[in-house]
């Protein structure tokens, strides 16, 4: 890999999507009733495409990502419905061997808390090697060189030294790059990055984002980036999914959504993230995300929605598709379109 980003590869829209999620519904049992973490989520990821998933804490972003390779232990998770198709093959939850062969080698994950994601009792080199071993690679000088090369490609200046370090002996930025290397080392087709920049300072954030962009360009892999930070998603993603209370409330090409948000929640998100140049107060969305065990009747966002009307409190809107490949779950856009 060489330094410097290049333009993302063109996405072939006509081809079958690499990863397809249909009707994913995940719930958790709790003393207060069943928590509806993810409700009827469907989306697809094209080859080489990058998708951003945006939402508040508890909106179902992480559960969605973990469910892509059925990683959540069940119980407590209850997979009510959902079908995941990877490379035209269904990923069946009851076929652990097939799942294992996809996990890591085809669909890899980068977690938010890098230091906790690394095993504290193994040196970094060993952890990288374990991943390769799990996918049938032998340990030899070539493998070691490959590990060093992967670390170097993740902007680690002195990979041979980092190999010998325990996770607690390196900085947070290095640890995050190591977790990216960990995901990258098998040359996967899909990298799921769950809030990879949240725990980092601004400069490290920028570096991690550049790294992800470069990886995508060079490996031609798809990236699913989860974040609550719109700026981060805007930089990386071709398409954005906005999640609220376990549902995708709006989706579409990144620039189009940022230019013209249609769902009131997306508008609120954008408004609250953009510092007004005029010096006015930062926009603040009142209220709290709903209790997923006791969702409000009608649209989940209706209690906080500035433009809600009677119908919103009674009936839940379905996704309203637009001609430009976008959709939004809101009665208002339905009205506006008609």
């Amino acid at each position: 890999m060489t330094a410097g980003g290049s333009a993302p590869p063109p996405v072939d829209e006509s081809a079958a999507p690499l990863l397809e999620v249909e009707g994913l519904t995940v719930r958790f049992g709790s003393p207060d009733g069943e928590v509806r973490a993810v409700e009827d989520v469907s989306f697809s990821v094209g080859r080489g495409e990058s998708i951003g998933i945006v939402g508040e804490s508890g909106s179902g972003k992480t559960v969605t990502c973990m469910s892509l390779t059925w990683l959540l232990p069940s119980p407590p998770a209850r997979y009510v419905a959902g079908r995941i198709t990877y490379d035209s093959h269904e990923l069946r939850r009851d076929d652990p061997a097939a799942l294992r062969s996809v996990r890591g080698s085809q669909i890899a994950m980068v977690f938010q808390n890098a230091r906790a994601a690394l095993d504290p009792s193994y040196r970094i080199g060993r952890q990288l090697f374990e991943v390769l071993k799990a996918h049938g690679r032998r340990e030899d000088a070539a493998t070691r060189d490959f590990v060093i090369e992967t670390l170097r490609s993740c902007n680690i200046v002195d990979p041979a030294t980092v190999l010998e370090r325990y996770p607690h002996e390196v900085s947070g930025g290095i640890a995050q790059r190591v977790t990216i290397a960990l995901a990258l080392i098998t040359r996967p087709s899909v990298i799921i990055a769950d809030e990879p920049t949240t725990a980092l300072d601004l400069l490290s954030q920028l570096e991690v984002l550049r790294l992800l962009e470069r990886i995508r360009a060079e490996l031609q892999c798809s990236i699913i980036l989860v974040s609550h930070d719109l700026a981060v998603v805007r930089r990386i993603a071709d398409r954005v999914l906005i999640m609220y209370a376990g549902r995708i409330v709006e989706r579409g090409p990144t620039e189009s959504i940022f230019r013209d948000p249609r769902h009131p929640y997306t508008r609120a998100l954008l408004a609250s993230s953009q510092q007004r140049m005029t010096g006015g107060r930062l926009y603040e969305l009142d209220g709290q995300p709903p209790d997923l065990a006791n969702l409000p009747a009608g649209c989940s966002f209706s209690p906080r929605c500035p433009s809600a009307f009677e119908r919103c409190h009674v009936e839940a809107p379905g996704p309203v598709p637009f001609a430009d490949g976008r959709d939004a779950r809101c009665f208002l856009v339905e009205v506006g379109r008609e």
Partner: protein, 297 residues
């Protein structure tokens, strides 16, 4: 653990292997080092007892009954039958060291297996294992041990077996808690997300984190086992006379405690010293075996 890639040339770059780091950290703890030295000496004494012992431990000198220390060549005096206390303590070390280590090692193997299974496969299997072990917690440890020993008859093998049974639930619980916690840790999820199988996760991610706790807990328990075994001996459930048993030696001196205090006192001191030594070693190991604690200066 030493199969990390092929790191021939990295020894130069990072001279501190994990093993060396652990040894260095342990060496910093003076108390633990002194305790290890003491335990090694006790083990050597136990091994070479016939050569070292100045007298026959089981044959008394009828002319030297209850001789005080430093009289007639008896460094620590003699007991009611005129037997040399030094010789009896030396031979008693054999039994004591076996009774300290064997039950703990056996319980560590059984307890780790049970705890790992119960912690990793919570639900029916885990619940069954832990509920059965809970029954053991309901009965006081020593009482249970004595009950088992009394039911099976006296003698060192019974003592060892009953102690092993009694501490297995404790080790299992330590392992269970650690396993249940580790199971949900992010690095286990990372391993799972990178395609590791359940068995690999158990072996590569969970067991290595559990073993240090078991070693530390087990070592500390060896000290308790010394005291336990002495208790069994004191109650006459241990080795039968005339075999030297530290606990039985204390019991033998109880009736003459006022006139000849050395008969009970010296075995008591030895028991305390060895039990403390095991505790110090356990504490030193706790720091030495944790990569995060040991690198702190």
């Amino acid at each position: 653990m030493s199969t990390v890639l092929r790191l021939g040339d990295t020894a130069r770059r990072n001279p501190q292997s994990g093993y060396r780091q652990a040894v260095t950290a342990f060496a910093r703890d003076r108390g633990a080092v002194a305790a290890v030295v003491l335990l090694i000496v006790v083990v050597l004494i136990a091994i070479f007892a016939p050569i070292i012992a100045p007298f026959d431990p089981n044959v008394g000198d009828p002319t030297q009954l209850l001789s005080p220390p430093l009289v007639g060549g008896h460094l620590l005096g003699t007991d009611t039958q005129g037997r040399d206390l030094v010789a009896r303590l030396i031979f008693g070390a054999r039994l004591a060291m076996i009774e300290a280590t064997v039950p703990v090692v056996a319980a560590a193997i059984a307890g780790t297996t049970l705890g790992l299974l119960a912690g990793f496969y919570q639900g029916l299997l885990g619940g069954l294992i832990m509920r059965v072990l809970d029954v053991f917690f309901a009965i006081p440890l020593v009482l249970l041990g004595i009950a088992i020993a009394a039911a099976l008859g006296s003698g060192p093998p019974t003592v060892i077996l009953s102690m092993a049974i009694v501490i297995t639930p404790y080790i299992a619980r330590v392992v269970y808690t650690a396993t249940a916690q580790l199971k949900h840790s992010l690095f286990v999820q990372t391993a799972r997300s990178s395609g590791s199988s359940e068995l690999e996760i158990l072996r590569e991610e969970i067991l290595p984190h559990v073993i240090p706790s078991v070693i530390v807990y087990g070592t500390t328990n060896m000290g308790a086992m010394i005291v336990f075994a002495a208790g069994f001996g004191f109650l006459g459930l241990g080795a039968q006379p005339p075999t030297a048993d530290w606990g039985a030696m204390i019991a033998a001196g109880v009736t003459t405690l006022a006139s000849a205090p050395w008969v009970s006192t010296f075995p008591g001191l030895v028991i305390v010293a060895v039990a403390l030594a095991f505790n110090y070693v356990g504490d030193g190991l706790r720091i030495a075996l944790d990569p995060r604690l040991r690198t702190r200066a």
